[in-house]
C-alpha cells in the first residue's frame, strides 16, 4: 500500500541555517501521527514544506503517490491536504459562516459568470454550500455563532473554527499546528476528544504538531521527534517516553 504522505530526505535551508535536514517519515491512511520537538526544532517548517509555502532545498514529498514539490499551496490543498495555523489565521473581516464558506470555494463548479447571472444552477450550488457549512458548524457546535465575526470569538472557538474551516476543503490529511497552544487543561482535554472525533468522523489522517507532551502522548499512536531539524526518534508513545535522546533534547544535558 502506498502511504498517504511520504517525505524523502527533505532538507530546507535558509541562508546558512538548515531548518530541516534529511527528514524521512510517512503518514498512512487513518494515522494519527504526532510531530514533537523543542522550540525551533523545525516542526512548523515541516508543515510549510508539506503545504508548499516553502520549497525543499533537497528531497521529495509524495502525497497519494504523486510528488507535490513545486506546486503552489492552493493546488496542494486541492489534492487533499488541509492545515491550521499556529498563530490562528482566520479571515478577520468575515463571519464564522463565511470563513467556512470561503473554504468551500475550491470545490465550486461555477465561477464569475454564474455569480453574475444567478441562474438556477447558481442557486442550487449556493444552497448546497450553505448546507455543508451549517452541517460542519453544527458538528462542532459553532452554528449558534454563524453570523459572529470570526476574530471576535473566544480563543478556543477560534481554534475550533480553524479546524472546521480546514475540514471544509474536504481533506484526506489534516495538519494541526499546535492546536493546544494557549489552552487550559480542561480545554486541552476537550481538544483531544475533538481531534479523535474529527479523525474518526471524517476518516482522516492527522499530523499533529504539538508542544504539550501530554496531549500528544494521550492521542497519538505514533510520534516522531525533531531536534535541530533532524529526526531523532520515531515510535509509539511508550518508546518515545523512554528514549534517552528524546529526554536529552527536552531536558538538556
Amino acid at each position: 500500500m502506498t502511504p498517504l504522505l511520504e517525505l524523502k530526505e527533505c532538507t530546507v535551508q535558509f541562508g546558512g541555517l538548515k531548518a530541516v535536514s534529511g527528514l524521512n517519515f510517512t503518514v498512512n491512511k487513518g494515522d494519527l501521527l504526532g510531530l514533537i520537538g523543542p522550540n525551533g526544532a523545525g516542526k512548523t517548517t515541516v508543515f510549510n514544506l508539506i503545504t508548499g509555502v516553502y520549497q525543499p532545498t533537497a528531497g521529495e514529498i509524495f502525497f497519494d503517490g504523486e510528488s507535490v514539490v513545486g506546486h503552489p499551496p492552493y493546488k496542494i490543498t486541492g489534492r487533499g491536504i488541509a492545515r491550521t495555523f499556529q498563530n490562528i489565521r482566520l479571515f478577520s473581516s468575515l463571519s464564522v459562516f463565511d470563513n467556512v464558506r470561503a473554504a468551500c470555494n475550491m470545490h465550486l463548479r461555477h465561477g464569475v459568470s454564474h455569480a453574475l447571472w444567478r441562474g438556477a444552477a447558481f442557486d442550487d450550488e449556493e444552497r448546497e454550500v450553505e448546507k455543508t457549512v451549517v452541517e460542519l458548524l453544527e458538528i462542532f457546535k459553532l452554528d449558534h455563532l454563524r453570523d459572529t465575526q470570526a476574530t471576535s470569538l473566544p480563543y478556543g472557538d477560534q481554534r475550533r473554527l480553524e479546524i472546521v474551516r480546514a475540514l471544509a476543503t474536504r481533506p484526506k490529511l489534516l495538519l494541526l499546528d499546535e492546536p493546544a497552544a494557549g489552552m487550559n487543561p480542561t480545554e486541552k482535554l476537550e481538544l483531544m476528544r475533538l481531534i479523535r472525533f474529527t479523525q474518526e468522523r471524517f476518516g482522516l489522517a492527522v499530523l499533529l504538531v504539538e508542544h504539550d507532551m501530554r496531549v500528544v502522548m494521550g492521542i497519538c499512536e505514533r510520534i516522531a521527534v525533531l531536534d535541530y531539524g533532524i529526526k531523532i526518534a520515531e515510535g509509539s508513545p511508550e518508546v518515545i517516553r523512554s528514549n534517552p535522546k528524546v529526554i536529552e533534547a527536552y531536558l538538556g544535558e
Binding site: V53, S92, A102
Partner: protein
C-alpha cells in the same frame, strides 16, 4: 432570490431612460455635474473591487481610464463614420467604441495585474503608479491621437442614460460578484493571503480578476468621459486623477459599495460647491485661494480620515472597521 438583482438592474435601466427623456430640458451645467458623478461612480466602484474588496492597493486607475478613453475615441474618429447614417448607426458605433475601450483597458489590467501579483502593499501601489505613468508617457508620444496636444472627439453621444446604465452595470457586477461563495474569495485575499492559499483558494486568479474587472470599468468610464468632454489629453489622466478616485474609495470606505457611491456623489459636487463659495466677496483672498485648490482639501481629508476614521465616512457594515482593528500588526 435569483431574479431580484436582475429586476433591480432592469429598473435602474428604465429609470435612467426616463430621466434621459427629459435631459434636454436640464440646465447644461447641472447635466454636466450629474454625468460627471455617474462616471466617477463607475470608476470608484471598479477600483473598490481592487482596493477595497481584494486589498490590492492600486494607484494607476487613471491609466486604465486613459486606455479606454483613447481607444474608444480612436474608434469613433477613425472607424465611426463607417457605421453610416442608418437608424441607430451612431448609437451602435458609440456602444462598440465603449466596449472596445473597456476591453482594451481590461487587457491593460491583465498586463499590470500579472506581473504585480508578487508584490504587496506599498510596492504594488508604486508599480501601479508606474504603469499609469508609462501609459501616459506612451500616449504623449502617439502623434496619431494628438500627442501632448490632445485629441478632439467630434461627437457627444454620452448622455445620462448611457452613463447611469454603465454605472448600474458596474454596481451590479461588483455587488453580485462579492456576495457569492465564489466572490468571498476576493475578501479572503484581502484578509490573509497565506490562509486563503491554504484553503485551496487561487489567490493569483482572484487578484488578476479584480484587476481586469476594475480596469474594464475604468475603460468604460474613460470612453464615456471622452465622448462627454469631447477633448482628451494625456495630462488629464495623470497620477492626480488616480488619486481623485482613490480618495473617493477611501472616503466611502474600502469594501463598502454604498459608501463609495455616496462618496462619488459628494466629492464630485464638493469642488463645484467650493468654487461657488470661493467666489463669495466677503472671503479673504487667501481663503478663497485655498478653497479653490481642491487638492489641498482632499489631502487634508485623507490625512484626517486616516488618523480618525480609517473605515471611511460612511459606515455600511462595520466589517472593515473591525478588520482594521484586528489588523494591528
Amino acid at each position: 432570490m435569483s431574479t431580484r438583482p436582475k429586476t433591480w438592474l432592469a429598473v435602474a435601466a428604465v429609470v435612467s431612460l426616463l430621466i434621459a427623456w427629459f435631459e434636454k430640458s436640464f440646465n447644461p451645467y447641472y447635466d454636466d455635474i450629474v454625468i460627471s458623478i455617474g462616471i466617477n461612480i463607475i470608476l470608484a466602484v471598479g477600483l473598490n473591487l481592487v482596493n477595497g474588496y481584494t486589498g490590492q492597493f492600486s494607484l494607476g486607475h487613471a491609466g486604465f481610464m486613459a486606455v479606454g478613453a483613447y481607444l474608444s475615441a480612436a474608434m469613433t474618429v477613425f472607424v465611426g463614420s463607417s457605421f453610416g447614417n442608418f437608424t441607430g448607426g451612431p448609437t451602435i458605433a458609440f456602444i462598440s467604441a465603449l466596449i472596445v475601450g473597456g476591453l482594451g483597458a481590461a487587457v491593460a489590467g491583465l498586463a499590470v495585474g500579472v506581473p504585480s501579483l508578487r508584490l504587496k502593499g506599498d510596492y504594488l501601489a508604486i508599480v501601479t503608479l508606474g504603469f499609469g505613468e508609462i501609459i501616459r508617457v506612451v500616449l504623449q508620444n502617439m502623434e496619431v491621437v494628438g500627442g501632448p496636444r490632445g485629441f478632439p472627439i467630434p461627437v457627444r453621444p454620452t448622455n445620462f442614460f448611457w452613463t447611469y446604465l454603465a454605472a448600474a452595470i458596474a454596481i451590479y457586477v461588483v455587488v453580485l460578484l462579492v456576495n457569492s461563495t465564489y466572490g468571498r474569495g476576493f475578501l479572503t485575499v484581502r484578509d490573509d493571503e497565506i490562509a486563503a492559499e491554504a484553503m485551496g483558494i487561487n489567490t493569483t486568479k482572484y487578484k488578476v480578476q479584480a484587476f481586469v474587472i476594475g480596469a474594464f470599468f475604468a475603460g468604460i468610464a474613460g470612453g464615456l468621459y471622452a465622448h462627454f468632454k469631447q477633448f482628451i489629453t494625456p495630462e488629464g489622466f495623470n497620477f492626480l486623477r488616480s488619486v481623485d478616485i482613490v480618495v473617493i474609495v477611501i472616503l466611502g470606505g474600502m469594501g463598502n459599495t454604498p459608501g463609495v457611491i455616496a462618496a462619488a456623489v459628494l466629492l464630485t459636487i464638493l469642488p463645484e460647491g467650493l468654487r461657488a463659495f470661493a467666489a463669495w466677496d466677503a472671503l479673504p483672498v487667501w481663503v478663497a485661494q485655498i478653497i479653490r485648490n481642491r487638492m489641498i482639501l482632499y489631502s487634508l481629508l485623507l490625512i484626517v480620515l486616516m488618523l480618525t476614521r480609517p473605515q471611511g465616512l460612511f459606515v455600511g457594515s462595520g466589517k472593515f472597521t473591525k478588520w482594521l482593528k484586528s489588523k494591528r500588526t
